[in-house]
């Protein structure tokens, strides 16, 4: 995980990949390092998490970590990236602005669906390889990437563009991007929940990414919960062998309203809790079977804020250290 400098975070929608990407950026920025956190989907989720105004197309500091480390964030705007690109390679910035007025830029990104991804990944590659005074500007770059369903296509720009643009600078550019993405400096992490569909999609994504020779990092299990019962009771409850009668005596020692019905209702909830727990445990085995390093992040009570992010970052730091030691 930490040999990598480019960390791409994907996951099924709803698994919390933006949160995990932000926490990972904080973890990597500890001890005085500088990390860039990149948003690719134009949702401004990073700004929301760090409680800052919407991010412009500009690298802005969003958090400071211990030992003078910092996380900067960038929300990539595809149009701006195209203009920057035209400027860099053709000195066409002014013409580009005029074209934007005509809606031509929108059109250009629409006729070639891959163009969008090429621009995004191109910008990411630029940030990873950018150097100043003989050393990289960023110690690490973390990408809040598109969801598992689209990640391989997003990262597999060459294959996509080879079909469309058989020559030209975009083709050259995408070849350069692929070289970085397929190198050991990249790790694609998949965020999942202990639920059927996210675990299934994680397995599918890992298979697709390996087939495309993209380096896979860790599987991050998000929002993991602890069981409320001791092991033996948990197992009995999961099998449905727990009823109100098991609780009634102890509940009778305190004054509670409607104890009869209450005991049965509480038992039913415990059974549901235990069954969900058993189902999660099975999925945990499925996740282990994927053969990737696994880290679990706990479910955070209440709304997500910067404090929670640092707490999650702490867990990820431990995981990073363990990975280095291994």
């Amino acid at each position: 995980m930490s040999a990598a400098r480019l960390h791409v975070v994907t996951g099924k929608g709803g698994t919390g990949k933006t949160t995990v990407a932000a926490a990972l950026a904080l973890a990597l920025a500890a001890d005085g390092r500088t990390v860039l956190l990149v948003e690719t989907e134009g949702r401004q989720g990073i700004a929301q998490l760090f409680d800052t105004p919407p991010l412009p197309y500009e690298e802005r500091r969003v958090a400071v970590t211990r030992g003078h480390g910092e996380v900067r964030a960038l929300a990539i705007d595809v149009e701006e990236a195209l203009l920057e690109y035209l400027d860099m390679f053709y000195n066409l910035r002014r013409a580009g602005r005029a074209l934007r007025k005509m809606g031509a830029i929108d059109f250009a990104t629409a006729i070639a669906p891959g163009l969008r991804d090429v621009l995004l990944t191109g910008k990411i590659k630029e940030a990873v390889t950018r150097r100043e005074k003989g050393r990289p500007v960023y110690d690490a770059v973390v990408v809040d990437a598109p969801p598992t369903g689209r990640i391989t296509r997003f990262l597999g720009v060459t294959a996509e563009m080879a079909q469309l643009a058989r020559s030209g600078p975009i083709r050259t550019q995408s070849d350069g991007v692929m070289a970085v993405l397929r190198s050991p400096q990249t790790a694609v992490h998949v965020v999942t929940l202990l639920e059927d569909m996210p675990v299934q999609e994680t397995a599918d994504a890992i298979a697709e990414l390996s087939a495309a020779s993209l380096p896979i990092g860790s599987v991050i299990v998000n929002m993991a919960t602890e069981p409320a019962l001791p092991e033996t009771d948990l197992r009995r409850a999961a099998e449905g062998g727990l009823t109100g009668a098991d609780l009634a005596a102890a509940l009778g020692t305190v004054h509670l309203p409607g104890t009869d019905g209450l005991a049965a209702a509480l038992a039913a909830q415990v059974v549901e809790h235990a069954q969900r727990w058993a189902a999660q445990d099975e999925l945990r085995d499925d996740v282990e079977a994927l053969g990737r390093p696994v880290v679990e992040l706990p479910l955070m009570p209440g709304p997500m804020d910067v404090g929670c992010l640092f707490e999650l970052a702490g867990r990820l730091e431990e995981h990073l250290r363990a990975e280095v030691a291994a």
């Binding site: 005029a98 030209g168 975009i170 609780l247 209450l262």
Partner: protein, 416 residues
């Protein structure tokens, strides 16, 4: 499945929460009568919309199943079902045609199909041009990319397929599951965007600027086409050009078709069901979508609030359960630890339910007229006919439940 005749015949809006759970004025969401909706012979199309991952596919399949069991001939158009659900429905083969699903004991028929967007697009091309021309289009690399990866193709083709299914008039009811896009609004926007794109002046200018014969062409346009060819390479422009000239006969047709299907959504007999989970993002999406439907004058049946966690009892508040857990441990004796754990599970459950109810209330304050039906999160995920049947029961069963929490809510209205 328990489709209670009483629930089926009562018009929406007549269910009231049990006495003792009096609504706070203006805050209570009206109940949604899905049983009436699916059994009404006038109801012909149900579109399930919502953000990704909220359970649209499962909701569509469960509604389809309930309608088939109530005696209707139903087809469910799914876009991207979870593999296990697809397998259990016998849909592992993607052949772009409805297949009958064996539902033992159902009075009606359940058919289901999975959309193959490229194939649907190919079919339109073949149907609207001569064989040679069609082949030219199908072989064109630009067409291949457009038909398999243009953002919006899936939505456009879902509309197209819906139009075809409706025109065939073989089914009493079509249930549509919308594509898993980032925004629920994409389903309404994408077809238009796509037809605008295909019909657009830009594409004509780009491919045949001389024919367009406009003055400004000479000025800005040459720069534009120079950039496009620089950035994408000349080959792509030649492909687009060939594609457009081959497609010339069909142009205009695209917009007409998209418009015709869009009109279908406005006809009586169509209803939208918005699906959301009790989470801020999903409900915000649902909110946008509800506003959009009302702006467009499209008929909304209501909101399905999926995967809620109503507690089995509400006589004990979270705070009281926490306190009782401590007392039980102090009192000691056999089973004290277990009982305390059960009380803690309950406290957690009450807190979760309160959060879900709070989110639902916020939605209802903004959209007081939108009917709501909550669906309890099953312990596992739905991946077989039995699970679907259970969910169908939750969707179409009576509004009252044994726990006294009406199915418009996660927690009962607080008594004053």
């Amino acid at each position: 499945m328990a489709v209670e005749p009483a629930a089926a015949t009562e018009p929406a809006g007549t269910h009231r929460p049990a006495p003792g759970a009096r609504p706070q004025p203006g805050r209570e969401a009206p109940p949604m009568d899905l049983a009436a909706l699916i059994t009404d012979p006038g109801s012909r199309i149900i579109v399930c919309c919502g953000a990704g991952g909220v359970g649209k596919t499962t909701t569509s399949a469960a509604l389809g199943l309930a309608a088939a069991e109530a005696g209707r001939r139903v087809v469910v158009l799914t876009i991207d079902p979870a593999r296990r659900l697809a397998q259990s429905l016998g849909l592992e083969e993607l052949d772009n045609e409805p297949r009958r699903i064996d539902v033992p004991g159902a009075a009606g028929e359940l058919h289901a199909m999975m959309l193959d967007m490229k194939r649907t697009f190919d079919d339109i091309v073949v149907a609207h041009s001569t064989p040679e021309r069609a082949q030219q289009i199908l072989d064109n690399p630009f067409y291949q990319s457009l038909s398999s990866s243009f953002a919006g193709t899936q939505e456009y083709m879902a509309m197209e397929k819906l139009g075809q299914l409706r025109a065939a008039d073989t089914w009493d009811l079509i249930v549509v599951d919308t594509p898993p896009s980032r925004s629920a609004l994409d389903f309404l926007d994408a077809p238009n965007r796509m037809s605008r794109f295909l019909d657009g002046t830009m594409i004509r200018l780009l491919t045949a600027p001389s024919r367009a014969g406009l003055k400004f062409v000479s000025a800005g346009f040459l720069v534009f086409s120079r950039i496009i060819s620089k950035v994408l390479g000349g080959q792509l422009l030649r492909d687009i050009s060939a594609f457009v000239s081959a497609l010339d006969t069909m142009f205009g047709g695209f917009r007409e078709r998209a418009n015709a299907t869009y009109e279908l959504l406005h006809r009586p007999g169509t209803s939208f069901v918005v699906v959301a989970t009790p989470e801020p993002d999903a409900l915000r999406e649902a909110s946008f979508f509800v506003d959009r439907l009302s702006t467009e004058g499209l008929p909304l049946a209501g909101l399905v609030l999926n995967r809620t966690h109503p507690p089995a009892t509400t006589v004990l508040s979270a705070t009281r359960a926490e306190g009782a857990a401590e007392e039980v441990v102090e009192a000691g004796g056999e089973g004290a630890e277990l009982a305390a754990a059960a009380l803690r599970v309950h406290a957690e459950r009450m807190t979760l339910a309160a959060r879900e109810q709070h989110l639902a209330d916020r939605f209802t304050s903004a959209h007081p007229d939108v009917a709501v039906r909550t669906v309890h999160a099953a312990a596992g995920d739905v991946h077989d006919l039995e699970g679907l049947r259970e969910m169908a029961g939750e969707l179409t069963g009576p509004d009252d439940t044994p726990t006294g929490i009406p199915r418009t809510r996660v927690l009962p209205v607080r008594r004053r």
